[in-house]
């Protein structure tokens, strides 16, 4: 037997770590979603296809600004020393993923505003003449729109990868400590973003195109999850026990049913049939993808905090 008793009982630390709650999970989800939307919008802008992708290029940048603000509010709510939030912008720490993230988030805003100005909604351009002027300036040279597109793709990729590296950089939490987490969160962000555009797009061709893209992203996401699990179960004892939290432990029902089943496999089957015109496109599939992406962040954040070097070593 091996039994460890400690007299410490610090709030949010003992008996199991719980420093990050819904705020961080929601922020990581929104960060991934925005990253995916930036990459999809950037793709269309960089190829000068903004006229055919109405929803992607007109609605998505504005929606991204709103969602990013909600995500940053969630981050702010999570801080326990809120008045000192400005300290993050008083320095840059290259070894800290969180420092990278806080600066990336600041750069994302102007990139989104640039994308928004390519096709600002009519009801806004009627009211604000400045919007019309700035948008017209952007349209004077096609290269400007291409540059905005590339900027959105690059910053979107950085944002999506950062949300994974933020967690995978913590060697103290075995479940998070996997290099697969960054691509997994990026791909999950792309799949939820494609699902969201698929849901909102009124143009049939655009919706169809995004559904096809989403199927590719969902397949890649499934492969990434499998790689994450293989990476953990082929590693040390503490990593194997961390993987067991998802596979057979307390988080297994949510992981298998809501993340893998409802979030990836079922919508993948529905959308695969839909793009082959065997069934009609149903809003339920993209809704499941979006909910699955949100629950993935919750499961990884929660289970990661439970995974531990010492406590895992105590298990048989």
């Amino acid at each position: 037997m091996h039994e460890l008793t400690i007299t410490r009982h610090n709030p949010a630390i003992d008996p199991t770590l719980h420093i990050w709650g819904w705020e961080i999970s929601l922020y990581l989800f929104l960060g991934g979603l925005i990253a995916g939307m930036m990459m999809i919008t950037g793709f269309f802008l960089s190829r000068q296809r903004f006229k055919e992708a109405t929803c992607t290029c007109a609605l998505v940048p504005l929606l991204s600004v709103v969602l990013l603000s909600i995500g940053m509010l969630a981050l702010f709510l999570d801080l326990s020393h809120k008045l000192y939030v400005w300290r993050m912008y008083a320095t840059f720490k290259p070894a800290s993923p969180m420092s990278w993230g806080s600066w990336i988030l600041l750069l994302v805003y102007p990139a989104l505003i640039g994308a928004f100005l390519v096709r600002p909604p009519m009801y806004l351009t009627k009211r604000f003449a400045a919007l019309r002027r700035w948008s017209a300036k952007l349209h004077t040279h096609p290269s400007r729109i291409r540059a905005v597109g590339i900027l959105n793709m690059v910053l979107g990729a950085m944002l999506g990868i950062y949300t994974g590296i933020l967690l995978s950089g913590f060697g103290a939490r075995p479940l998070w400590n996997s290099p697969i987490l960054a691509p997994l969160f990026l791909i999950s962000g792309l799949s939820t973003a494609a699902a969201l555009v698929h849901l909102f797009a009124r143009d049939r061709d655009e919706s169809e195109m995004l559904a096809k893209a989403d199927n590719t992203f969902l397949t890649a996401e499934l492969v990434s999850v499998v790689l994450l699990i293989i990476g953990l179960i082929s590693s040390t004892k503490v990593h194997i026990q961390a993987a067991q939290l998802l596979l057979t432990g307390d988080y297994a029902p949510v992981f298998w049913v809501l993340v893998i089943g409802m979030g990836i496999i079922i919508p993948l089957i529905i959308q695969s049939l839909a793009v082959r015109h065997k069934v009609a496109h149903m809003p339920i599939a993209p809704i499941m993808v979006i909910i699955g992406g949100l629950i993935l962040r919750f499961v990884i954040v929660e289970a990661g905090q439970v995974s531990h070097w010492t406590r895992a070593a105590l298990l048989p």
């Binding site: 039994e3 460890l4 007299t7 709030p11 949010a12 999570d78 000192y84 300290r87 103290a172 531990h308």
Partner: protein, 179 residues
């Protein structure tokens, strides 16, 4: 350049918690929080059981992930002895340092900043031992310069069997337990 560390003799520690009380008093640690604590670690099969009693705290690692992950520069390595400290007025309370610590040695102070053991640097700088070391009734705790081969801690480490905690996490902890 000194490298401060601790050597704790688990064969002498009785888990009286004097070190815990001394720390709370010296550093005004809020009620319900601990910068140091006692661990009772039992191994073996009945009737052949072995218990190790340890006084634990921040390990002031040589490779401190809590410092590297801090986005504000609040967590830092003190110029004297490599002690890991937190500037309270730079900490935003993001809790990344807490997630990064494999020893769970940090906590959020009720005032919002990340807090932890300081090796009582304010005492050490005036030539005294940390509060926990100075009150230990069994003299099981030793504090000193690990870089000085003639220091008490170095001599104990070279002459006795010892182990750090969770060495495999790669943080190079600077507290060693004699067995």
């Amino acid at each position: 350049m000194a490298r401060y560390g601790m050597v704790i003799d688990t064969t002498k520690c009785v888990g009286c918690m004097d070190c815990v009380v001394a720390c709370k008093t010296e550093n005004d640690v809020p009620q319900g929080y601990n910068r140091d604590w006692i661990a009772y670690d039992t191994n073996g099969q009945h009737p052949n059981l072995h218990m190790e009693i340890r006084s634990e705290r921040c390990n002031h690692c040589d490779n401190p992930p809590c410092v590297y992950c801090c986005p504000c520069g609040a967590s830092h390595i003190h110029e004297r002895g490599g002690v890991v400290l937190v500037y309270h007025d730079k900490c935003s309370g993001c809790k990344a340092c807490i997630a990064a610590c494999p020893y769970d040695a940090r906590f959020i102070h009720p005032e919002g900043y990340a807090d932890k053991c300081t090796f009582c640097i304010h005492r050490v700088e005036t030539g005294m031992d940390p509060a926990c070391v100075s009150v230990c009734p069994t003299y099981c705790m030793h504090f000193g310069d690990l870089d000085d081969p003639n220091s008490g801690v170095s001599r104990l480490l070279s002459s006795r069997r010892n182990h750090p905690l969770i060495d495999e996490a790669g943080t190079r902890p600077q507290i060693f337990y004699l067995t």
